[in-house]
């Protein structure tokens, strides 16, 4: 008897609670939440139509939006293949590449050589950013023989004249995952610029060390370091079968 009474009480409580819950749910839906940002801005860093590839989590640019008091930028990170994407609210943004960011000269991206690109965002938009890298890696070809990965590629100088820089070194990396640069490399071969005879025919090779757990493939990539510039320029990533 006692028990069933308690249960009835409880059910009564729940019945009372129901409208409260419903009301809260409705009001949350209607009043408490902002809309989430829905417009996607995406594109890539390009030079004459070719992607400028960089290392992951390393190259960023800033989006600034005025009109809301103290300003702080939205940082957008560029992916390994040079692409980016950001989900934003519609509005007017200023796109700026901070000085010293990226393996390229990014100062003339706007109209008339301005360092700022105005972006009117209304719905999804594709926006490629034209920049001038110091170098480009051309025709990279990877091959394997046994556990040795070899690469052949050319380095083309893009920036000449007063802002020209030299190659500091070129590197070949192999990595267990398809994030490939010096941070994840399990085997790296470096060739300093002094040892490069022909920039249009560079050969590097590296022995893949034993991996735990074992896997019969690696991801390879070559990169070129520009003197006095922090970020490097990379080739595309190639998955290689090894024995």
């Amino acid at each position: 008897m006692q028990n069933s009474k308690v249960i009835t009480m409880k059910i009564q409580h729940i019945v009372w609670l129901l409208p409260v819950v419903l009301f809260t749910a409705c009001s949350l839906n209607n009043y408490d939440n902002y809309d989430e940002p829905e417009s996607t801005l995406e594109g890539a860093f390009l030079h004459n139509g070719d992607s400028v590839r960089v290392s992951y989590n390393n190259v960023t640019f800033e989006l600034w939006q005025g009109g809301f008091g103290a300003e702080s930028p939205i940082n957008v990170t560029v992916d390994q293949n040079g692409s980016y994407s950001a989900v934003l609210f519609d509005g007017e943004y200023r796109l700026v590449i901070p000085p010293g960011q990226g393996p390229f000269i990014g100062s003339g991206i706007g109209e008339g050589g301005s360092d700022t690109l105005q972006v009117q965002l209304k719905g999804d938009q594709k926006l490629d950013i034209q920049i001038t890298p110091y170098f480009m890696i051309r025709n990279p070809e990877f091959s394997t023989s046994g556990r040795t990965v070899s690469a052949n590629f050319a380095v083309e100088q893009i920036v000449t004249g007063a802002n020209a820089q030299n190659v500091e070194f070129v590197q070949l990396y192999v990595s267990k995952t398809n994030y490939v640069d010096t941070r994840t490399s399990i085997g790296t071969t470096t060739m300093n610029s002094g040892d490069i005879n022909d920039m249009s025919d560079i050969n590097l090779s590296v022995d893949v060390p034993a991996m735990t757990p074992t896997q019969d493939y690696v991801f390879a990539r070559v990169g070129v370091k520009t003197t006095a510039v922090e970020d490097m320029i990379f080739s595309q990533i190639q998955k290689m079968q090894i024995n």
Partner: protein, 627 residues
């Protein structure tokens, strides 16, 4: 009724009028706050005001922020909540940011009021002013080494709501201007400060010269080595100092250091010449008229203590069961200590065939090294508070198989035995087990052996040394070397090395940049120098370069060799009943498996990011480069 009311009212009115007459209610002085003129007529109250300025001065790696010692390659953090420090890929651009104009304002306000305090004794007044200007020079030094050039405010600013704020916007001064300001301030006040070398915890003549020598040395090296990182610069010298100024700054640093050394007021600590390691360790513990200490943050039992010892004491000797072993020095640091014949060598754990070398005694592998090693680090086979440490990672059979445990001092049955026995040390190392060492080492420098210093409720009163003469010798040596005077550099550096047990002096020809870097690394480990030194030499991006850790790299003495994370050295006991090496020890290098990422110091880390709030409230400011 009405008349009655009026009567009462008039009585009340009369009474209140009378009481007003007798007591100046509205002009009574408050009983619970001190007014400005009361404070500024009493030297004790001014002193306590000044004390709060001392208390609020910024610092980075220090005894109360011990976790910061594990941010680089000197030490590993053995605490679950701090593993992120060795798992991150890079340092945040905002790391080490310091932009506290509230504190600068407080000092400027103190100075304005002190200037106007006519009731103070003139001698007191000039010392108070000198101490406050000393603290202001100190805070600008702290800011410039983190942020580069900062706005130089030497007066209070005031603002009324509705005014145009534009006149208050102050742009960043050039980096060199800030260093010049620090040097000129010290020159102006040094003679107003007490020269008594027994004053340790407040500003003295010695502390002023010490700051001057360090600041000028930093400025000189930024001017000289800025060429290594040309993109770390901003226009108008807001970041970066022109090479042409290097000589001048080095000369200033050398002159200040020489004056301090030759004054004879301080001397290198040498109270225990029979045991140089213990002597080096005592240097940090001995608060009794310590001849070497110039300026320190002091602590007092039962009043103001810190938890440095509580958190980093060895696990087997902990006085606070659930807390121990936080700071684990690394093999990277331990290998940096030279052999006593002035040569660099990795710890000999393998012979020329790559086979492990067996040692009868655990401490043998560390023999014949710089006395500062055992004074800085607790090694396997050493003692703390007179008790043996128990640092070993497991038992190794002759075929290389390893038996170990997952609890401190665990017992297991070894192959071929009938009784279980201990298979791992009570101090670790056990992989991924916090509170014990995970590198095979504990920190000794600054760790307090006093009873109960390892208890949370008691804490330690060991002081934190901001400046000591040993550093001044190294400042002088570096400045002399950079000025091309290797003879003088060798004289100064050898003084410090003799104290560490080196009997053969370095020849002037042996003084190189790498030597200077090395000597500061081993003499000043865990004293809060590493980050600032690596920044001013512009080698931070080369050393913490994000390259995977290589346990075979073995590059002691190489200033720019990569060292992007902590490496450990684990002792194993050999189990080979009847064999010649049974019960002996072998040592295996190993990266603690908690360390999942080498860390990258990016060019944008040389000067910390100014946060967006600061930037948007002053349009004159420019952001630091490469971020």
């Amino acid at each position: 009724m009405k008349t009655y009311n009026i009567l009462i009212l008039s009585v009340i009115l009369a009474v209140s009028l009378i009481s007003c007459d007798h007591d100046n209610f509205l002009s009574r002085s408050p009983q619970d706050v001190l007014l400005e003129d009361q404070v500024w007529s009493n030297p004790d109250l001014v002193r306590s005001n000044l004390a709060s300025l001392y208390d609020n001065k910024p610092d980075y790696q220090e005894l109360e922020q011990y976790w910061n010692f594990t941010d680089f390659d000197e030490a590993f953090p053995s605490r679950n909540g701090d593993y992120w420090r060795v798992r991150r890929q890079n340092y945040d651009y905002g790391a080490w940011e310091y932009w506290d104009y509230g504190y600068v304002h407080n000092i400027n306000l103190f100075l304005t009021r002190a200037e106007n305090a006519d009731e103070l004794d003139p001698a007191d007044k000039s010392q108070f002013i000198a101490e406050a200007r000393f603290l202001r020079a100190n805070v600008y030094f702290e800011m410039v080494k983190r942020m580069g050039g900062v706005p130089l405010l030497t007066d209070t600013l005031s603002y009324e709501v509705g005014e145009d704020p534009a006149p208050l916007y102050t742009p960043r001064a050039a980096e060199a201007e800030v260093y010049d300001f620090i040097i000129s301030e010290i020159d102006a006040i040094a003679s107003d400060l007490p020269t008594d070398p027994t004053i340790k915890s407040t500003a003295t003549w010695g502390a002023a010269l010490a700051i001057k020598s360090r600041a000028a040395l930093y400025a000189g090296s930024i001017a000289r080595y800025g060429a290594n990182t040309p993109s770390v610069s901003l226009s108008n010298g807001v970041v970066g100092i022109p090479e042409g100024r290097a000589e001048g700054y080095y000369q200033t640093a050398l002159d200040a250091a020489t004056e301090l050394i030759e004054s004879g007021r301080y001397s290198l600590y040498m109270r225990n010449p029979n045991d140089l390691s213990a002597n080096f360790n005592d240097l940090f513990q001995d608060k009794q008229d310590n001849p070497e200490v110039i300026w320190a943050q002091d602590y007092l039992l039962q009043s103001e203590t810190h938890q440095f010892t509580v958190n980093s004491q060895p696990k087997s000797l902990t006085e606070e069961g659930a807390v121990a072993g936080f700071i684990n020095p690394t093999l990277n640091l331990v290998q940096e200590f030279e052999l006593l014949d002035n040569t660099f060598a990795p710890l000999p754990n393998r012979d020329s065939n790559g086979d492990l070398i067996a040692y009868e005694d655990k401490s043998e592998i560390f023999a014949n090294r710089d006395a500062r090693l055992a004074g800085t680090v607790m090694l396997p086979g050493s003692q703390f508070k007179g008790q043996d440490l128990d640092i070993w990672a497991g038992v190794m059979e002759s075929d290389g198989t390893i038996t170990t445990g997952d609890q401190f001092g665990q017992q297991k049955m070894l192959p071929g035995e009938s009784e279980p026995e201990q298979v791992v040390g009570f101090d670790g190392p056990i992989d991924q087990l916090e509170l014990g060492t995970q590198t095979g080492f504990y920190i000794r420098k600054y760790l307090d052996p006093a009873p109960a210093a390892g208890r949370i409720g008691t804490g330690s009163d060991v002081w934190w040394i901001h400046y000591r003469l040993g550093e001044i010798y190294l400042n002088a040596a570096e400045a002399a070397f950079e000025l091309g005077d290797n003879d003088l550099a060798a004289d100064y550096i050898n003084e410090v090395r003799q104290r560490a047990g080196f009997t053969d002096d370095l020849d002037p020809g042996e003084i190189t940049f790498d030597r200077i870097v090395h000597e500061r690394k081993v003499e000043l480990a865990f004293e809060g120098h590493q980050l600032w030194d690596y920044k001013r030499w512009r080698i931070a991006h080369q050393v913490w370069n994000g390259a995977p850790l290589d346990i075979d790299a073995d590059t002691p003495g190489d200033a720019t060799a990569p060292s992007a994370g902590p490496i450990g050295l684990w002792p194993y006991k050999i189990h080979d009943p009847g064999g010649a090496d049974d019960g002996h020890w072998v040592f295996v290098e190993r990266v603690p498996s908690v360390v999942t990422n080498p860390v990258t110091f990016r060019l944008g880390n040389y000067y910390s990011r100014i946060n967006a709030g600061v930037l948007s409230s002053n349009p004159e400011l420019v952001q630091n480069p490469n971020q």
